[in-house]
Amino acid sequence: MYDNRVSGYLYIAPFLIGLATFTLFPFLASFLLSFSDYQLQDPVEQARFLGLGNYTQMAGDDTFHGSLGVTFLYVFITVPLKLAFALFIAFVLNFKLRGIGFFRTAYYVPSILGGSVAIAVLWRYVFAGDGLINQVLVWAGGEPLNWLGEPAYALFTVVLLRLWQFGSAMVVFLAGLQNIPTDLYEAATIDGAGKAHIFFTITLPLLTPVIFFNFIMQIVQAFQEFNGPYIITGGGPLKSTYLLPLMIYEEAFKYFNVGYAAALSWALFLIIALFTIIAFASAKYWVFYGNEREDGE
């Protein structure tokens, strides 16, 4: 509404300063550091240019390859399962049931708490040898499992912590579902369309913008998972939960190899950027932005 460009820039000035100081500068600095042999304990002036040294080291680093594999496995299991489950529960909730508000709250609580250290600590005890899950297993007549000590199971506990937080994605799906005009359903029913047909021709296409939003947010978050593996498993056993953010942290702050850690962080950045770009580029083929505008806007 205002045409005063000076005031406009004054209002967004805090953002511009912050962008330059706390985002763009560190972003470029980590790119430069990734070509150096810089060690955390040295003065910054002592950093030496290494060329592609850190990147060739990455190419031959089995720990990095392992971490990369585990990270992809984690993301590819977590994100689709979480989205599918969030969508499923949103569907179950999206009917004129009594107590929908209560269930929505109950399912949302884990998303509020789930990122905390307290919950990661709880998870450790839930899956410990004498923990809750094994007690239930034994009570049901099964054998206790070594959840945190067995490479095949350890990643599963970290995945489950993330799945447990499906509530935030579900709330977004639910809002999307409730935005679909009911006259569309009524018209389809009068035309004799079946439930499955209605789902695939009306509900799903109109929901694609919300699916797209949730997908991007979940992918970006999942690639950055740190608390879960750091606290529940410490990255083990046998590096089976050694996700890339954990490796970056340890390289920088435990082994002091800042140059190498910076290169790893750029690898992670490029992977996330690639997925985001593919998602945005593919959006025009599957995300349906109808010409209807919701009312009240």
Binding site: Y2, N4, R5, G8, Y9, Y11, I12, P14, F15, G18, L19, T21, F22, T23, P26, A29, S30, L33, V44, I89, V92, L97, R104, A106, Y108, V109, I112, L113, S116, V117, A118, I119, V121, L122, Y125, D130, L132, Q135, V136, W139, W164, V171, A175, G176, N179, T189, G194, I216, F226, P245, Y249, A252, V258, A261, S265, L268, F269, I272, T276, E297
Partner: protein, 290 residues
């Protein structure tokens, strides 16, 4: 197909059956999800041998032992210190985030200026930028400033609207509000800052509350930044104190650690239940509206 053409009475029956099925799914999933939380609260009041002995909830021999010893912690500080430490940087963080996000969002939503599109796109891009690529240079920068082992690196960036998500949230909210009232205020002789304070802020209060609540929760959960910036135990927030507790406490004292985890979650739970509608509005504003 058959559902539609079935006789009326069958439809009612199927409708009731489907509602029943939905409730069964909802209650089943809900119990499964919330049981670990109930178990944690219950375990805080159990002796340790009982925690290992049964998966049930109700304590057979209720005791405050876990809460008392847990609160004392294995360190020279009590858990109260860690709680206060958390609030010592969360409060300025929330305040600075609200002020900077509102100012910047107002600029983006209400001013025409060259280059706006580019800056806005960059702001949205920062939401998707992984934090770990900035982590190391930020650490080195704050080390040069002499800010290590202080709370400054944790909240000073928030004065500069570094959380694009919050700016975006307020911009989306502002876009949904017709500027009629603001224009009337301008005609009455208000400048843009007076309009912001007297007209815009009261109207966008729900968005402001959402921003404050989300920043509060996320900061309480924040672990990685305190982990790299704080080194003296006396400055640790709750998140670091809990991590330390599982490393230090003897392996069998589960009730102490679980009692402290329960207490650590209380501020989030209380705030959430007092203000849950703002959470639902906040989380959906960025995705569904606009």
């Amino acid at each position: 197909m058959s559902l539609i053409s079935a006789p009326r009475r069958d439809v009612a029956w199927i409708g009731r059956f489907s509602a029943l099925l939905r409730y069964a799914v909802l209650i089943g999933v809900g119990l499964l999800m919330l049981y670990p939380l109930f178990w944690m609260v219950a375990a805080s009041f159990k002796p340790n041998h009982e925690i290992f002995g049964s998966a049930g909830l109700w304590p057979q021999e209720p005791t405050m032992d876990g809460v008392v010893k847990g609160w004392r912690t294995g360190t020279e500080y009590s858990f109260a210190t860690y709680l206060l430490n958390s609030f010592a940087f969360i409060m300025p963080k929330v305040l600075l985030t609200v002020v900077s996000s509102v100012l910047v969002a107002y600029g983006f939503a209400r001013f025409r200026m060259p280059g706006k599109q580019l800056w806005f796109a960059l702001m949205v891009a920062t939401i998707l930028l992984p934090k770990s690529v900035l982590l190391i240079p930020q650490y080195l920068m704050f080390r040069e400033f002499g800010w290590l082992d202080t709370y400054l690196p944790l909240y000073v960036p928030c004065a500069f609207a570094t959380d694009g998500f919050f700016v975006f949230m307020v911009v989306q909210f502002l876009r949904g509000i017709p500027p009629d009232m603001e224009e009337a205020a301008v005609i009455d002789g208000c400048n843009s800052l007076q309009v912001l304070w007297h007209v815009v802020v009261p109207v966008i209060m729900p968005a402001i509350i959402s921003v404050a609540l989300f920043q509060f929760m996320w900061s309480l959960n924040d672990f990685l930044y305190p982990l790299i910036y704080l080194s003296s135990v006396g400055k640790y927030p709750v998140a670091l104190a809990l991590k330390m507790a599982i490393d230090v406490t003897e392996a069998t004292a589960w009730n102490q650690v679980l009692a402290m985890s329960t207490i650590a979650l209380l501020p989030s739970l209380i705030v959430f239940f007092l203000a849950q509608k703002y959470f639902v509005e906040g989380i959906t504003s960025g995705s569904v509206k606009g």
